[in-house]
Structure formats: C-alpha cells, structure tokens
Amino acid sequence: MRTFRILFFKELKSYFLTPFGWLIMAFAAMMQGLSLSTTLKEYSESAMSENLVFATFQSPIFWFYFLFLFPVLTMRLFSEENRSGTLEGLLTAPVKIWQVVLSKYFAAYLTFILLWIPALIHFRLFAMLNDIPPPFNNGELYGALTIVILMGSLFTAMGCLASCMTSSQIIAGIVCVGILFVHFLLGLIPYFFGDQIAAAPLFHFISSQEHLRSFSRGLFDTRPFVYYLTASGFFIFLTYHLLDYRRWKP
C-alpha cells in the first residue's frame, strides 16, 4: 500500500506540479463555461421545457470536449515510460505491476474528477448570483456530475489501455479517441436502426448519451453503475496483462 501511495503521488505530481494539469483544467473550465453560456442564450431566446443542467450537458459542444479530455489525460501514462525506457527502472524496483497500473489509473482518474470542480462552481454561482429560483435542482446537478464521473472511470481505463499499447504518445492518443468514438457510436445505433433490431436493449444498456440524459434529469439508475464499474475493471485488467506481456511473450 505504501508503494502504491508513493507511485500515486508521483503521478499526481506530474499532473499538478507541471503546467500540464493546469492547462487541461483551464481548457475544461473554458469549455464548461462556453456550453453553459450558449445554453443560457437559448434560454433567453425561447421557452425551454428542460432544466438548465440537462440542456447544458446536451449542448453539442459537450461530447466534443468531453471525449477529448481522456486522450489528453492518459496518452502519456505508459507510452512515455516505454519510449524513454524508464519502465525498465520502474519494474526492476521492488514494485508489483498492479501497483504501477492502479497508481497511474487512479492519478489520471482523480485529475479527471477535479476537472469538474469548475462546472460545479458555475452552477452554484448561477444559483447564488440570481434572485430568481435556479432552473434546476440539486438532484439534477449532482446526477449529471455523478454520471460524468462514472463515465470517466471507464474512459480513463480505455485511455490507459491505449497508452500501454504503444510507445508513441500520439498513437496512444489516436487509439484512445478511436476506442471512445466507437463506444460513443455504439450508443447511437438504436437511433439509426430503431428498436426493432434484436440487440437494441444491449445498445441502450451501454449508451452513454442515454445515461447522461436520464441522470441529468435527476433519475439515478443503478444499471450504469454496474456497467461502468465492471467495464473499467475489465479494461484495467487488460492493461495489467498488456504490461505483463513482455514477461510471457514467446
């Protein structure tokens, strides 16, 4: 556990003791602000039937920046160690492979979670600075943040796997975007082909768009919890074995 803690803080430092983490934070804050302000503009122009949180997280800009956070956060994790050779020094110290994988995963994941502080502040401020009752309630706000953080656990694990596959950060980033995009499109299949196809319930089950819609209306559903947590466990498991691969490859 002590080894895990040392590795974890080392990774966390590489995000926040360099400009890197702060740049992503600034980017995320800017995009969150942009989607909130464009949504507010729509509110001022026409009557809206949905709550503000829902409309903000449904704005077209959301998926665009959301899916790009993960490659940026994770592409460096393993590929850089691979390229520079520091993996050799790391794995010949008395550390276990799961400690390496989990420390990197959780450092990236915690950084991702911290990226949502600006969004939380935006909505809190909106409620504080207006004398009108805010057009959303706490269930909707925390529901949206919960599902975003839940989706993050899986997408970060996908990014870790992509980073472990190659020694080039760029390729790791592209592979990560690819995996995320395929996952995103799978969730859209029911829209294109309708609910008549036999696999439609499966696609509904993994559809991040639908999860986001229901949670940002304040509907907590336990199925996405099961899905995202088991799937991230699976991707971490794959990452572990990919890193261990050199130990058993022919």
Binding site: I6, G89, T92, R247
Partner: protein, 310 residues
C-alpha cells in the same frame, strides 16, 4: 551472490542468450564483456527480473530470479543501459522517489540521500532538473539511483558509455571505491577499464560464455601471450637456429633494423618465461644484446581472439 545455470532467452527463433552459466561471489567486481549483440543486456535484464528467461535458472542472494523476483529486486541496484530517468524531476526529488520505492523512509531516507549525493558528486546540482544535466551528470544520477538503498549487488549496464575520458575516470574510481563493500557486475566494451577495476571477467559471444576467469589468467593463457622480442647483433641465421633450440621456444622470426641490429621475435609456450635463458645464451655466444622484453598480452587481444569471426 549470483549463480546462473543454463540461462537462455529466445526472441522468436533467435537465441539471444544460449545456455550461459557463471558465478559471482560476494565482494567481487566482475566485468561482463562481449561484442555488440552478444546478449549482455539481455542477460542483465533477466537477472534484474525485467525479462523472464526462456529456460534455465539463476539465483541472486539465494532467491530465484523468476519466482522470488521481488526479493531479488530488493537486493540489487540496477543501472540500465543509456540510464533512463524521469527528466522533468529534480535530482534530489528523483532520488527521494526512488529511495522511498525501495522502502527507505524518514531519517534513514534523508541520511542516505545526503550520503549518495556526496558519493556521486551531485550535491551542487541536487536542485536542478534532470533534463538540464549533461550526460555525465545523468550517468551519476543513474548510479546514485542504483546505490541509494545500499544494495548488496550492483548491476551496471555500460556505466561509462558515452562519457569523456575525465568522466570515465571519475566513474571508474567511484566503482573501485564501491567495490570495497559491494558486489558489482558491470558490462562494458572498454577493456582497459575492466583490467583496472575488475577481479573477474566473463566474456560472452553469440549468447555463449567464452571465458570466465581473472583478467591475469586470461591474458597468460592466451595463445599469443609471452611473446619475447630481443634485439641482438650477430649472424642472423645462426642466432635464429640457436634461439629455436632453447627450451619452450616454439618459433623464431627475425627482422633487420635500420642500424645493423636485428630484432628477433621468439614465440614461446604459454605460462613460461625464457628471457633468462636467452640472455644467458647471448652472453655465452658473445652476441651484443641491447633489448630483451616479454610482451605481455592485453585483455584486448584475449577479447579479439575469443570473439573474432573470420
């Protein structure tokens, strides 16, 4: 300290290391030599647990390198080839990280940090980013990294690779000092370095051990060792026949020099010295003798003899 038995590593069909066996006992400084691609780095990576062996076994400090990899790794300090470091960390920060990974903490960590920085001559750059350091300093950081937890065994892969002569000297004397209370296994191409620092040499080529002995024994037992060169004046033919008749001499060749003297090269059996007999013979025959020298072989010649492919 290290027992290697029939260790092999195949990459696909290519055997990088092919059934090597050798031993290193506590307190020895062992040079691990071989041409490029001989399997040195692969062997060291197997010993440190980075790569698993295809077959065979090795034990370090009594622990199996595959089954008890973590115990093995606690006993070794390893400096990989080309010294990979986290370049965006500062020297002291990096060493603190590496030390605490090896289980040092609190006052013990602080004490070892200070000592290691001193030993490796890094005190004045301890606050610098590693990426701003020159190659020589990075090499020292790598060495400090291997040393910080006071390991029983140091494994250094080409510790002086790419350094200038002054830096090589500094690293060499550092290794010699460390050798007083550490076991060291170091791989290198620089043979003079091995002659000066190591008390045992293992030469491998194409994945196989070609020789393992002290540098002195290796040099003495080589085919061309013990060649004697003598400069004499007198009848060339006669001298050649007489010299050939001396015991242990296998062959004599001669070569006239500019000033009327002749140089004779006398080939003798390994591990013998015929100089006294030659000088006695010259005295007896009244040949003027102005130089008589035994050419001791060098490790370089041993190396070439064992690993040349022609």
């Amino acid at each position: 300290m290290i027992e290697v038995a029939n260790l092999s590593k195949n990459y696909g069909r290519h055997a990088a290391v092919d059934g090597i066996s050798f031993e290193v006992s506590r307190g020895e400084i062992v040079g691990f030599l071989g041409p490029n691609g001989a399997g040195k780095t692969t062997t060291l990576r197997m010993l440190t647990g980075f790569l698993p062996p295809t077959s065979g076994a090795a034990r370090i400090a009594g622990h199996d390198i595959f089954r008890e990899s973590l115990d093995v790794r606690r006993h070794i300090g390893y400096m990989p080839e080309n010294v990979p470091l986290y370049t965006d960390m500062r020297v002291k920060e990096y060493l603190r990280f590496r030390g605490s990974l090896r289980g040092l903490k609190g006052s013990q960590l602080r004490k070892r940090l200070g000592e290691t920085l001193d030993i490796c001559g890094l005190s004045h750059v301890r606050r610098k980013m590693i990426k701003t350091l020159s190659k020589g300093y990075r090499q020292r950081v790598g060495l400090a990294d291997a040393l910080i937890h006071e390991p029983d065994l140091l494994i250094l892969d080409e510790p002086t690779n790419g350094l200038d002569p002054n830096q090589i000297r500094a690293i060499r004397s550092l290794i010699q000092n460390l050798g007083e209370n550490h076991t060291i296994l170091l791989s290198t191409h620089i043979l003079s370095e091995v002659e000066m620092t190591c008390n045992k040499v293992v030469i491998i080529d194409e994945g196989k051990v070609k020789a393992a002995d002290t540098p002195k024994n290796l040099v003495n037992s080589m085919r061309r060792a013990g060649r004697i060169s003598a400069e004499l004046q007198g009848p060339r033919e006669e001298i050649e026949t007489k010299l050939s008749a001396v015991g242990d001499v296998t062959k004599v060749t001669s070569q006239p020099l500019q000033d009327g003297w002749n140089r004779y090269t006398v080939f003798v059996a390994p591990n013998t010295d015929t100089r006294l007999r030659i000088s006695a013979l010259a005295h007896e025959m009244q040949w003027p003798l102005r130089s008589l020298a035994r050419r001791s072989g060098t490790l370089e010649e041993v190396f070439v003899e064992l690993t040349r492919r022609d």
